[in-house]
């Protein structure tokens, strides 16, 4: 008995669907830099610093935080606003952590409105002070200062007003 070609194709497609469903969920860092923390809190100790494009395997999720595992096996928490969730591509041939992406952060890294476009815009607008913008971006309030500010003001976890 000859199996009809379309049945064969359909069966193949279904198999791929099942494989994809069984795949690990990979999250990719989409911001310049962030940390994996010991607990799902911003003031929890940072275990490792990550940069845009770094890939992690998702373990679980809780209140906007994702528990992840790094490629070196380190387990910790990262806030969901820092990552893009994607699926592991089982069909990719080059490397186990290769992810597939459509119009995703990973696929778009460095593209579109990028430094090249900003430089071109800057060259047409010498009156704009980008050095001031750079200075503004360099100022980052350290997390221990934020924590001290909250504690002093009886805010956040230190608040007892409500």
């Amino acid at each position: 008995m000859k199996i009809p070609k379309r049945t064969f194709v359909l069966f193949g497609a279904l198999l791929i669907v099942l494989l994809a469903m069984a795949a690990d969920t990979v999250v990719v860092v989409k911001i310049q830099t962030t940390s994996i923390r010991q607990n799902p809190q911003f003031f929890a100790p940072a275990l490792v610093t990550l940069k845009a494009g770094d890939k992690l395997t998702k373990i679980s999720e809780s209140n906007g935080w994702i528990q992840v595992k790094t490629q070196t096996g380190l387990v910790g928490w990262i806030h969901s606003s820092a990552v893009e969730v994607t699926k592991l591509n089982l069909l990719a041939s080059n490397g186990p952590m290769k992810t597939q992406a459509k119009a995703s952060e990973v696929a778009l890294a460095g593209k579109g409105f990028n430094k090249q476009v900003e430089d071109s815009y800057k060259s047409k607008h010498a009156e704009l002070n980008f050095a001031l913008v750079d200075r503004m971006l360099q100022v980052k309030v350290a997390s221990n200062l934020i924590e001290a500010f909250l504690r002093q003001g009886r805010l956040g976890d230190f608040g007892g007003g409500r």
């Binding site: 379309r6 279904l14 911003f42 952060e105 900003e118 980008f130 503004m136 909250l150 007892g160």
Partner: protein, 303 residues
């Protein structure tokens, strides 16, 4: 028979699409082409469709938002001088960074950053990605830290909901995305850069026009007020600070100027009516003495 084959092909690819992204689709299309179920041309069409070009503001990447935000910030800074007051800037930056942690978008590409503008105009502006500006005129109208916190939370709300990016004309994005396509290149040819720069410039015009000239759609302002109450409430600030500020602004002398905040925001009375139910639901909070003390110290000397 031909119809059946096409049906099978479409169904198979639909299933593939459900489970995955384009690289799997490409391989799926190749498989179907190999079996002779579809032609090479059909495989190409399917592949192209699966790579649907970006079309909405939601598909602007975090990095692109960062570059848009940088230039919006540069344009804001070309209109107003920066207030040279390190202590006040540090106070606002620390408070803003703290509130951002309680928002729905605590992390952005380059994080949140704050500056005070040296003008008596009452205004607060947020560039996409999290560069936030408060004017001296606005800070002078705040009587306590919690009021200031609600204003910062309102601006963080605009960043969280990407209101700046939403004010970009759709046709602009369609043009940019069409030009970019899905090519896997990171360095553009000079003519592409020239075209992209033109679109970039128009994009900035859309955003700055909304921020400074026309104001956002009223629903965005109400949405940002709602988020301000939510985020500041989570931080245990007294969300009544929003009402206190809006009441101060009713009949404020600067309203007559028709500039800044008054030009770009719904009336304070309307905003009070919209925000009050959520504020009442959260209940009042006692403002800790330490907050009052540090607020007074930070704004002392503001002229």
């Amino acid at each position: 028979m031909k119809t059946l084959r096409a049906f099978t092909a479409v169904l198979s690819l639909g299933l593939l699409l459900l489970a995955s992204g384009c690289s799997v689709v490409q391989q799926g299309a190749d498989v179907l082409k190999g079996t002779g179920t579809i032609s090479a041309e059909q495989a190409n069409t399917i592949q192209k469709t699966s790579e649907t070009i970006r079309s909405t503001f939601g598909e602007i990447s975090e990095e692109e938002e960062y570059y848009i935000g940088r230039s919006v910030a540069a344009l804001i800074l070309s209109r107003y001088p920066v207030l040279q007051n390190a202590a006040l800037t540090q106070y606002i930056s620390t408070m803003g960074s703290a509130i951002a942690l309680f928002s729905d978008r605590p992390e952005t590409f380059a994080g949140y950053h704050f500056l005070v503008l040296d003008t008596d105009e009452v205004n607060a502006l947020a560039a996409p990605g999290g560069m936030i500006f408060l004017t001296k005129g606005l800070i002078k109208r705040c009587k306590d830290e919690d009021t200031l916190a609600l204003i910062l939370a309102h601006e963080i709300g605009h960043v969280t909901a990407k209101h700046g990016l939403q004010s970009i004309k759709k046709s602009r994005l369609v043009d940019a995305f069409k030009l970019l396509g899905t090519a896997a290149i990171k360095t553009y040819a000079p003519d592409t850069v020239a075209k992209l720069t033109g679109i970039f410039e128009d994009t900035l015009g859309d955003i700055v026009g909304s921020l400074v000239e026309r104001g956002y759609d009223r629903k965005f302002e109400y949405e940002a007020d709602g988020m301000a109450v939510k985020f500041a409430g989570r931080a245990h600030y007294d969300t009544g600070g929003l009402t206190r500020f809006l009441k101060t602004m009713v009949g404020d002398s600067s309203a007559a100027s028709g500039k800044g905040w008054f030009k770009t925001h719904p009336s304070p009375q309307d905003r009070i009516s919209e925000a009050t139910p959520a504020i009442t639901a959260l209940g009042a909070v006692k403002i800790a003495d330490a907050r009052t003390a540090r607020f007074k110290q930070a704004v002392a000397g503001l002229k």
